[in-house]
Structure formats: structure tokens, C-alpha cells
Symmetry: C2
Subunit: 340 residues, 2 copies
């Protein structure tokens, strides 16, 4: 598998993008990475590092997109940006997948514009993997679309279902709709209409799920509007950080705390490992013609390494083709229903 | 202050409602509680307990609303329910405030129906207090309204601002709008329109706040649609619980964990105290003619005790009158703007 990496994207690029690349190619024989970005800068970063040289390539791109740029302007004016060049490699067959930790709005817009949406998909969506007591679940849409229609939520459910089967390897994922009550009459206009569509779809739809049950691990796929998904994702991240800080502060105030802390440190470390976004590397944009993984702007080299691994796996398992097939089955069913 | 308590409402009523009542009247000389519910049942619960007898009264109500009943049916058919009788006491001057840990939809609908909305308020909203690294903030609306209009969000902001000044005693609260980016162009249709209205309002509006910053304590009042507010509230509650369980599990797996856990227990206890919903007792329904505190269905006696304290304080400070005044100032300003 050959992955194109937007080597200039992210708060700590290109140091961490190059570092993560060296890690992944040293570990996996079947992964090649094309670093896309300023050639001289990237060569300098690679300098002195040991790695299988034939599996790290460089593709020069003269421009970089800043975190505060507008997606439309970036698309129109920066045709030689690292993200655009990386996506173009997927389009023209030079790479199997693309990874970016840069401006996520720009990465999404570029992937959408260059690769296009899969046939039958109205709106591509971001699928984020989140930890729970019983293992991870898929949150979709985690932020690609605000102001959705019920039909969009149905497609998110179908795409999330396909993703969960392929990547989390759960044969019949429990798909739930995020709402404010379990009964089908609870929710806002959007979720009440979406509920009716999901009930009829060819997925294991388990009904509404409330916020309090999401982290108990009762669903494999949680479906929502991208505005809400993004708020849930970011709030959870912020809360988990705040909890760890508050706990550490309480511990520091104890006389026995220091000893207790040292004794418990491995537990805190394991916990952090299980809940760290970096473990999952990034979130795919589902519903486009190709594999595109969006990583956190704050990505560390570990996050980049994992994103590259996810991209290769995603591409190897042809997840986007499976999604395409499921969406076309959905439409075939819709046509049958209309006929009858 | 005299508080009417829906003594039959909540998962553990009337044991915890009676227990919480005994606690609060034993502690505060100026609080009286009217227990509303099945008289013989309540007398039995009080039996053998020591408390200042002249400050706990009983008002009989023959019916109880179950957690699965519909608000409209409950309002129409159960005219002798404990929640309705309790709210009626506020209406006819027999009590200054009402507290219920029963079916929150029924409690809200009953308060709204019997007491009515304050002049100028289109939609009453629930204000929940949530902990952060720098102290608590107010989340409004935490679940009373789904499908809001921008004008509703403006009123939530004004009500939350008044509540925060009065109860959290912050003279000029920082009011922020929950969205998916800090810039005013980020968000969905609702928040983008609401942003314009909030910018013009006579409050200290600090712009959009992202999910990740909510628990850092950067805002005193966070404004959102009730569907999202409820999901944020419940997701946070669920996540905090899941994190503590996951941490305990990691600790249990360590050989040194048991000792470390014992040494750190006071820190965990302090943390729990600071983040426990029971500390805040309940959330007021703002924008109605009277004081109504909605408590968690799972309320413990401590939560009930605190809800009764909050209700008394809320009523003593005449918070609902302050809100009424702020809302009427808002409309006066709107009229001026239209005139010019």
C-alpha cells in the first residue's frame, strides 16, 4: 500500500509527519509513504534518520495551507499546496490513500473536489472512533456536515455500518441514533424523521441512544448531524482532559498523594493509551471515491504513524468500495419500495 | 422560605425525598418544606426521625406520575398528582418554590401550564450548572426545547446571564454560544443567526465557544439549543462515569494498585464531590412565573437536600423577577431599534 502524506499539515509538521513516516515504514514491510511538501525541508528532516529508503518518497509541493485559511480560497488559489498534491496522487493512481493533519476543512473540501463523492452519496461524512468501557464505537458524522436532512442521516448510518464491519470487524454492528430519549417519539424534527428511515433500512438499527449511554458502549455506530457530532467529539475530548487535570490537582494536594500517584502511574498511563485520540490516528472521510484520513491538528508522531497504518488498512480492505456497494443497495431498495 | 417538594418524584422516592428534607430543615432555620404526596406513606417515612416538626408539613396527593407517562396525558388525567399539587402550592401562594426529581418532562409541562411563562419569554429553558477547571458554568438550554429559533437562543442568553449574576454571583458573566468554530461564520444556520442577535444584546457576549473549551472554564454561560444541551449534559455525565470506571479497572489490574488507590482515595473523593451533579441539586426552569427546580431522577438524599437549598436561595434572591426585568429590557431595546 502506498500512502500520500500531507507532510506540511498539522501544528507540529513536518517534524512529526516525517518521524511518524519513519516509524511506520520501519515497522511494516508493505507500506510505502510519499511525503508531499517542501522538498528541501523534508530532506533536511529525513537527514540522519535510518529507514528503508526505497519506501519513503518525496513529492515536492511549494505551498502550505495555514490553519486560518478559508477552504474555498485555498482550493482556488493554492493549486500547489501539499494537501492538494497529496490528494491528486490518489486521483491519478500514484497513491492508494491520503492522510492529512492540516486544516481539516481544507482537507475535506480538497478530497471532495478532486476525488468526488461516491455514486449515490449525497454528503460524505467523517467517522470518528471513540473509546468506551466495552471497546470503541464509530461516531458519524463527526463534523463534515451541519444542517442535515433525514436522508443524510440514513446514509451516514449505512456508511458507518460498512466502516464498522470492515475496520472494527464486527459482523453485525448495532447502529443507534443519538437523541434525547430512547422512545421513537423523542428527539427533534430531524431525528424523528431519520428514525423512521433507519427503522426500514437493511441495518441492525437499535433505536435512539441517549448521551448518557454512548460511553457505556451500547452501540457500535452512533449516528448524528455533523454539528452535534463535532460538539460531542470536542466536548468529550475537553472533558477527558479536564478530568485528568482535576484529578492530578487533587492528588498533588494530598500528602500521601505523591506516593499514591507513583504507584498508580502505570494505571493512568494505560488509561491514557486506551482513550488517546492518537491511538486511532485519524478519522476517515466516508462517501468519497478514495481513501482520505483526516488527523488531529495537534497530531504527534504516534498519531501520524497510526493514521498511516489506518489509511493502509482502509485501502487494503477496499472500505470505500464496500460503502459504495452498500449505498447502491440502499438506493436499489428505495426504488423497489417506490415500485410496489 | 417555604419549598413544596414533589415527595413521590424520583427513582428512590419517597425515601430520599424525606431524608433530604429532614437534612435541610435540620441545617437551615429559615427553610420550611411541604412534602407533597401520599400522606400515610410520607408519615411512615418520617416516623422515628428527629427534626424540627413545625418546619416539615405534609400535603396529601393521591396520584403519582410514572417515569414512562406522557406529559400531556399526565396533565389531563392526573389532576391529583404530587407534582401538580406541589406546583399549585406555588401558584396559590402556599409555597415560594417547587422541587421535583420526578419525570422531568411532566414537571416542566406542569410548571409551564400552572404558573405560565414570564412576560416576554417565548420559551422557558433549563439552566444546568456544570463543573470546570475554573469553577462551574451555566449551560442553557439543557433540554427544555428542541428545534429552537435564533430569538429563543437570545432569550436563553439573557436568562442565563441573569441566573449566573444572581446565583453564581459573577457581576458580568462571559456569555458564549456553543458552536463548531470560534469565528462568527462557523456553525449551523441557527447559531449563525443567533450570533448576530447576541452580538447586539446588552450582555458580555464573548462569541462562539467550541466543545473542547467548554470544560476549560472559559465561559460563565454557554448557550445552545435544548437538543444539543441535553446531549452535552448527558454525554458528559456518561463520560465522567466511564472514565472513573476505566481508571478503577486499570488500578485493580496493578499489583501496587490497591495501595496506590488507598493513598489516593481522598483525592478521588474530592474530585467526585466537585463534579457530582448531586452537589448542585438540580436545574431551574427559567422564564416561568415562579421558582421550579428540576432534579435528576436518580437523585440521592444529598441531591434533594441541595435542590431544596437552591430553590430557597433562588426564591430569596427573586431570580425569576430579575429574569423578567432583563427580558423586558431586551424587548424595550428591540422596540427602540425598530423605531430608529
Amino acid at each position: 500500500m502506498r500512502v500520500a502524506l500531507d507532510a506540511m499539515g498539522g501544528d507540529h509538521a513536518p517534524a512529526v509527519t516525517v518521524e511518524g513516516t519513519v516509524e511506520i515504514v520501519s515497522e511494516y514491510d508493505d507500506i510505502e509513504v510519499i511525503l508531499v511538501g517542501d522538498e528541501s525541508h523534508l530532506k533536511k528532516e529525513l537527514d540522519g534518520k535510518r529507514y528503508p529508503a526505497n519506501r519513503i518518497l518525496i513529492k515536492h509541493a511549494s505551498q502550505v495551507i495555514g490553519m486560518d485559511e478559508s477552504p474555498t480560497v485555498a482550493l482556488r488559489k493554492k493549486k500547489d499546496s501539499s494537501i492538494r498534491k497529496a490528494v491528486e496522487l490518489v486521483k491519478n493512481g500514484g497513491a492508494d490513500a491520503v492522510v492529512s493533519a492540516g486544516h481539516s476543512g481544507v482537507a475535506m473540501a480538497t478530497a471532495l473536489f478532486i476525488l468526488g463523492t461516491s455514486k449515490g452519496v449525497d454528503r460524505p461524512a467523517i467517522a470518528a472512533i471513540m473509546p468506551t468501557l466495552k471497546g470503541p464505537f464509530v461516531l458519524i458524522d463527526a463534523g463534515a456536515n451541519v444542517d442535515c436532512r433525514p436522508e443524510n442521516l440514513l446514509q451516514f448510518a449505512v456508511m458507518g455500518n460498512a466502516y464498522c464491519r470492515s475496520i472494527l470487524e464486527r459482523p453485525e454492528p448495532k447502529v443507534a441514533l443519538l437523541s434525547i430519549g430512547e422512545e421513537d417519539t423523542k428527539g427533534n424534527e430531524l431525528t424523528k424523521e431519520a428514525f423512521k428511515l433507519l427503522k426500514e433500512a437493511d441495518i441492525n438499527f437499535t433505536g435512539n441512544i441517549e448521551g448518557k449511554d454512548v460511553f457505556a458502549g451500547n452501540a457500535d455506530v452512533v449516528v448524528c448531524d455533523g454539528f452535534i457530532g463535532n460538539i460531542v467529539l470536542k466536548t468529550s475530548e475537553g472533558l477527558a482532559e479536564a478530568i485528568m487535570k482535576m484529578l492530578k490537582r487533587e492528588i498533588a494536594e494530598l500528602t500521601t498523594g505523591r506516593v499514591g500517584y507513583l504507584l498508580m502511574k502505570p494505571a493512568l498511563r494505560n488509561f491514557k493509551k486506551k482513550t488517546d485520540y492518537a491511538e486511532y490516528g485519524g478519522a476517515p472521510l466516508l462517501g468519497i471515491n478514495g481513501t482520505c484520513i483526516i488527523s488531529h491538528g495537534r497530531s504527534t508522531s504516534k498519531a501520524i504513524r497510526n493514521a498511516l497504518r489506518v489509511a493502509a488498512e482502509f485501502s487494503k480492505k477496499k472500505v470505500y468500495e464496500i460503502i459504495s456497494e452498500d449505498i447502491s443497495n440502499l438506493h436499489a431498495k428505495e426504488r423497489t419500495v417506490v415500485k410496489v
